[in-house]
Amino acid sequence: MAGLSSSPDMRGQLGAVARVRFQLFVNGLRTIRGRLEVVARGIMFLMFGAAGLGGSFGLGVAAWYFVSHGNVEWIAILLWVVFLFWQLFPLMASAFSENVDSSNLLRFPLSFPSYFLIRLVYGSLDPSTIIGCLWLLGLTIGVGIAQPSLFFWAALVLFVFAIFNVLLARMIFAWIERWLAQRRTREILGAVFFIFIICFQFIGPLMSRYGEHRHPDASRVTAQALPYERALPPGLAAAAIARAVKGAFAPALGAFALESVYALAVLWLLNVRLRAQYTGENLSETAARKTSPKEKNALRLSWNISGVPGPVAAMLEKEVHYLSRSGPMLFTFIMPVVILLIFRLGPAGTSARQSNFLSHAPDLAFPVGAAYALLILTNLVYNCFGADAVGMQFYYVCPVRFREILMGKNLTHALLLACEVVMVWFAVCFMFHPPAVDVTLATVTGVAFALLLNLTAGNLLSIYTPKKIDYGAFGKQRASTATVFASLGIQFAVFGLAAVTLLIARVFGRIWLAAFIFLILAGVAAIAYALVLKRVDRVALDRRDAILAELSRA
């Protein structure tokens, strides 16, 4: 065939991918959103640049200090810092969003080496690789200044260490990409990530609680962990440099060889994953499960909620199904209890300076937990159509008024908050002590007022500034920026009013007075809620084109 060479040119293909990436970047500038994104990236680039150069200088100085002061083994600590940053930062930053589908590349006549190289090169152009390389460069220079004769050896060891990190990061991502390709594995991975984040929250309180006194077992555990540390790549790289500094070249060479074996092993694993992609693995989401005739023919009825109109009950059921299938959302709902636990585990000193404020004033635990539960819920309330995405079209073609649709959603959110407040109450009873009756009453009425006000504003903002979200994926549940700012303003107003109310109650020395005032405020908020609900059909109809355009986008 004319014009078609027998073997596609790898350089040409790499160039084509580079050009298309540039073209995508340029086309992205056509929209204001795209331009803002570029500005944000520019700022990020400057920040990462500063972190890279600053870290490089710091690590270089530290390496020079360790080598020139006879503590060369401590370079291992520096290499572990580089390693952990290099591997963990991309995971945190990507927030489990869906990745680019590699099958886009596979339809072209790419040889496997080309495909491998493209995935490796373009996947590695990220801040962690650039910062990691700068840091290792700093380390090399630091070692070189301290002991010039070992500069090239350190450069070689750290170069292999850099390659190991690049390959490992790509290998981890290639496997994560595999798991993210399917909804179920994506959600499991998200849940694991969330548990990791929650565990992270406990480090601070536990350190401040137990860190002041040296634990007798700590030194023993550290001593036991050291041999394992030395057998891992950061430890091996450090050992290769340290042994060479001490003139033990054979062990240094051995450590370097083992480090290289690690790099080769990771290369092999990456090769296995990418080859599976290259040969066209099937990651279909369609379930092939067969069911029994009994299960197949079972009559499934919708919920029967007496006293609630059919469409409102149907909305309630649908919302509950949606939330119950969202791992990330379910995890956020336990956060109020987690926050109380973090406070509970914090330092419990006798003075106000030493202790956290809840152990100083445990009466506030219930209001704080309930307020936090409300804050978490605002994310749902202020963008309540976001998760419906293209399903939003159905609300416009079905014979149900928007006020009923919103009532169904609001009822779900109110019930959810009620459950959370009860859960917080029990958690407070268990972790601190049962809240006083007047505090409970004031908190419940305060929450009722805040909820009604938030629902009122949330219903309007859900229609005026909707944003498509995904309950099942991390980092895809944020409302629009306008909604976030409006929501913040409303929270300031709500908490301001609550503070004034509590101040009045405190001045008179009667907490139940706060409950009374909150009840009046809740009445006013209820009127506002009803007024908004009455007008919401008109607003939804006026905003129809914009809402559907936003929520139906791919």
Binding site: M1, T286, R300, K318, Y322, F394, V397, Y471
Partner: protein, 276 residues
């Protein structure tokens, strides 16, 4: 005399300076299987969106079963079923949950909704995977579910935007059987499709929109007669090879009628010498 199932007067939609649909006057009688055709970007989806309440009209009037859509949106929507372009599905429900939900939103009691859900899932061959979420369905399964959702309340008028797009032959056969059953029971169906063979086989009446304007409307025979008459009138000025009049005993297909009305050429004559 019955009011038209669908009637528009001066229906227009502008997007800034672009007039996507201009002064469209449609009339669809009750019981008709109506095909709405047009090239890409002609205004088909915009029109069907306006007819179903998914998009506001810049001007003009829409009447469904004699009711003004603007004034009685809820009453109109109670009597129509819609499969829009995006299918309007809720991904994180199972098929049964989705149909139950849709049934209740259309005002069915829970027993009726549950019974019809089971029947529809069975008819559409979706009952095998009761616990699979809609988001995990294949495209064809989603199309069938969307269709099931559109008919669960027994609508008198059904609007379908590209119902056969991405659907395999088996699913397509199921959908066609259901649509023909609905027509036999007196329902009106309004569909847009690029698959002209299917439209020719199913639809009794057609309208063709081109660059936002309605350029033809009537039964297939009326459209055919119109094209042939035009061709005959122009015959004197053309060479025999270019004549649009078919040979005796031959009928113009819908594809030929369509291409002649919208003035399209397939470009097959253009030379792509490198293509082998």
């Amino acid at each position: 005399m019955d009011a038209p199932a669908i009637e528009t007067q001066g229906l227009t939609r502008r997007f800034g300076d672009l007039v996507a649909v201009a002064d469209v006057n449609l009339s669809v009688a009750p019981g008709q299987f109506f095909g709405f055709l047009g090239p890409n970007g002609a205004g088909k989806s915009t029109t069907i969106k306006m007819l179903t309440g998914l998009l506001s009209a810049s001007s003009g009037r829409i009447q469904i079963l004699g009711l003004d859509l603007g004034r009685n949106p809820v009453d109109v929507k109670r009597q129509i079923g819609v499969v829009p372009e995006g299918m309007a599905l809720f991904g994180r429900l199972t098929g049964a949950e989705y149909l139950n939900f849709v049934g209740c939103m259309y005002g069915l009691d829970r027993e009726t909704a549950g019974k019809r859900t089971a029947e529809l899932l069975d008819f559409m061959q979706l009952a095998d995977q009761p616990k699979t979420l809609v988001t995990d369905y294949s495209h064809g399964m989603q199309k069938k579910l969307a269709m099931a959702g559109a008919v669960i309340h027994g609508p008198r008028v059904l609007f379908l935007d590209e119902p056969f797009e991405g659907v395999d032959a088996i699913a397509s056969g199921t959908l066609k059987a259901m649509l023909q059953r609905m027509i036999a029971r007196g329902a009106t169906i309004f569909l847009t499709s690029h698959v002209l063979e299917i439209v020719e086989r199913l639809c009794s009446h057609l309208a063709i929109i081109h660059r936002g304007r309605l350029v033809a409307q009537g039964s297939l025979e009326e459209l055919r007669a119109g094209v042939e008459a035009q061709a005959a009138a122009a015959l004197a000025g053309t060479s025999p090879g270019e004549s649009a009049v078919p040979a005796p005993g031959e009928k113009l297909t819908l594809e030929e009628i369509f291409l002649r009305i919208v003035g399209g050429t397939r470009g097959a004559e253009q030379e792509l010498s490198w293509l082998g």
